[in-house]
Amino acid sequence: MANNTPVISVRDLVVGFGETMVLDHATVDVYEGEILGFVGGSGAGKSVLMRAIIGLVPKRHGTIEVFGADLAALNDRQRRSIEQRWGVLFQQGALFSSLTALQNVQFPIREYLDLSPRLIEEIALAKLEMVGLSADVRGKYPAELSGGMTKRVALARALALDPDIVFLDEPTSGLDPIGAAEFDELIRTLQRTLGLSVFMVTHDLDSLHAVCDRIAVLSEGRVIAAGPIETMLASEHPWLRSYFGGKRGRQAQGTIQGQLHH
């Protein structure tokens, strides 16, 4: 299903803070209609790479192309039109705490599109229901939502403008295994129905097995491998072997195979 045009193409990206070099000539592609799982050790710079793509962290060197356009060469207006075509799910949700769940989802729609209040409300409610929330949460404030609900509302907000690309920063962290599995499935379903390309930073081996089309591995500032899960499992690279071949890795693999048998 994934075809071969990259929607995001990162070449030789260098990012550092002061003396420390976080990304050292990292190169990675995300193809149209695929879910790319981005893994690496804690502090390896996975989130930094995501933040560099969406423009929250300045880069020192390298090019970042999104939809074939070099982000560094765009003017403000062109940049905004690209920003409308991606949605970001932050690790903690980053919902606006003074707005209700429904208002959070309405916010980008209200800002960017000139629509009737009725349509804005209907679309926002539709998004909330598409991420598996009942209409009852609409009036709740972020402080009143559970962790899983916060992630779902944040996902609905990320999807508010029907983006082509969605960035997910550890979408299943902090969720119980059942909630995490449901969230994985939700991402898969939404990716299919909306034709999304997904860039997913994750630590969750189950997610990698269950939903990712391809996996890219970041280690020591570089992307050391990229490909489907089978290539990762077959790799001889010591870091990959300990990551996927460790006890937890084998368990995740076992569960997925078990599910396939039933």
């Binding site: 705490s97 003074s98 599109l113 000139d114 629509l115 009737s116 349509l119 209907e122 679309i123 409610l125 539709a126 998004k127 229901e129 598409m130 009942s134 209409a135 609409r138 404030y141 972020p142 402080a143 009143e144 999807l159 403008l161 029907d162 379903t189 299919r192 129905t193 909306l194 034709g195």
Partner: protein, 377 residues
């Protein structure tokens, strides 16, 4: 400019609608108009086919509008169906078939007078409630203070000194500067008015009584409420938001003892000292104006000052200071604990903390005025 997005072919009671082009977010406003228009115009269609075979692009916005079109016909009892759906869009249409089925939440238009009355009632109840909370915290604070007196090792000296530096030492320059200016202004106004009936010497009496009894302590309290009270509320409030207060509780520590007691002790120590410094600065400012503007020699000013200061005048201001500090501290901490999850509530409570503590300080000053008049001071 806009291409046709929906074409209708009516054949008696049968209606065929064909959607063409891109049904996406960018054109959603236009599409909504088209959809509503189509629903209005073809009132008597019994059977409606919505053909999506010619669609170029479809996103959630377009798909929802098609669903809305279909539902509008279905509501009237017509037989509406979607045909020519491509495989790529099938999943999306299926999703949207299920959404927005719940009852619409219509905002009830409430009576304005009732709303105003409700707001008044809520505010009155809130004032009463905040007085209760202040009393509650005062009780908890007393208990914590007695606890530390019984077990002096539990006194958080480092914390007290830290807060004393923040609310006392670092406030000195701004407090001295503002009270100096206030003293100078009082003296200038006094000289200007009193001179008309040749009573300029009594300016010194007026300034002394005003500054030492009222203005010194009030100015200091207003500054401290704005400077330190707001900081207390914001600190405790954000600790509450991030559940740090709950973390303290689960470790078996009393938030009042750990957070409130050192802050209020620091305030109760700092405000009298600041009041003293402030009053001196005000008298200095007044003296400077009397000399440069009023032509009163410094030694005459000092002589008049010595006569004007009846010891209770000085005591009245100083006695009030710790009580006002306690009020500011209590209000600031109460409001801090009242902060809820949202950033908006943090801002709201910080504002409330400053406004309430300044008002209560002024009210307390009134009570003191009656009290001191009663005992003849």
């Amino acid at each position: 400019m806009s291409s046709v997005l929906l074409t209708a072919t009516a054949d008696g009671e049968r209606l065929a609608l064909a959607a063409t082009g891109a049904w996406t977010a960018e054109r959603a406003a236009e599409l909504e108009g088209i959809v509503d228009e189509a629903t209005r115009r073809h009132k008597d269609a019994r059977s409606v086919d919505i053909d999506l075979a010619e669609l170029e692009r479809l996103d959630t916005f377009g798909a929802w509008l098609i669903e809305r079109l279909k539902r509008a016909f279905a509501m009237r009892g017509s037989n509406a169906r979607i045909v020519g759906l491509s495989d790529a869009d099938r999943g999306l249409m299926e999703e949207l078939r299920l959404v927005n089925r719940g009852p619409r939440q219509d905002r009830a238009k409430a009576n304005r007078i009732l709303l105003a009355l409700e707001a008044v009632g809520r505010n009155v109840a809130e004032i009463g409630w905040s007085l209760v909370l202040i009393a509650q915290l005062l009780g908890a604070l007393t208990a914590a203070a007695l606890g530390t007196i019984a077990h002096p090792t539990r006194l958080r000296l480092t914390s007290i000194v830290h807060h004393l530096e923040r609310v006392g030492w670092r406030a000195v320059p701004i407090i001295v500067l503002s009270t100096f200016v206030i003293g100078a202004i009082l003296a200038q106004q006094g000289i200007f008015r009193f001179r008309t009936f040749g009573a300029d010497v009594f300016v010194v009496d007026m300034v002394t009584v005003l500054v030492l009894r009222e203005v010194g302590v009030l100015i200091v309290c207003v500054m401290v409420a704005g400077r330190s009270g707001s900081a207390y509320t914001a600190e405790i409030g954000s600790m509450k938001m991030r559940e740090e207060i709950n973390a303290l509780r689960t470790m078996g520590l009393d938030p009042v003892e750990v957070l409130v007691l050192p802050r209020i002790v620091a305030l109760v120590l700092a405000v009298p000292m600041l009041t003293f410094l402030g009053s001196m600065a005000a008298l200095f400012g007044a003296g400077l104006v009397c000399w440069l503007y009023g032509g009163m020699a410094p030694d005459i000013y000092l002589d008049r000052l010595r006569e004007a200061i009846w010891p209770p005048t000085f005591a009245v201001g100083m006695i009030k200071a710790p009580f006002m500090a306690l009020t500011i501290g209590l209000v600031a901490c109460v409001e801090g604990f009242e902060v809820e999850g949202s950033t908006a509530s943090l801002g709201l409570k910080t504002t409330a903390s400053v406004v309430k503590s300044i008002f209560l300080v002024i009210a307390l000053d009134g009570v003191f005025a009656m009290f001191f008049a009663g005992i003849g001071m």
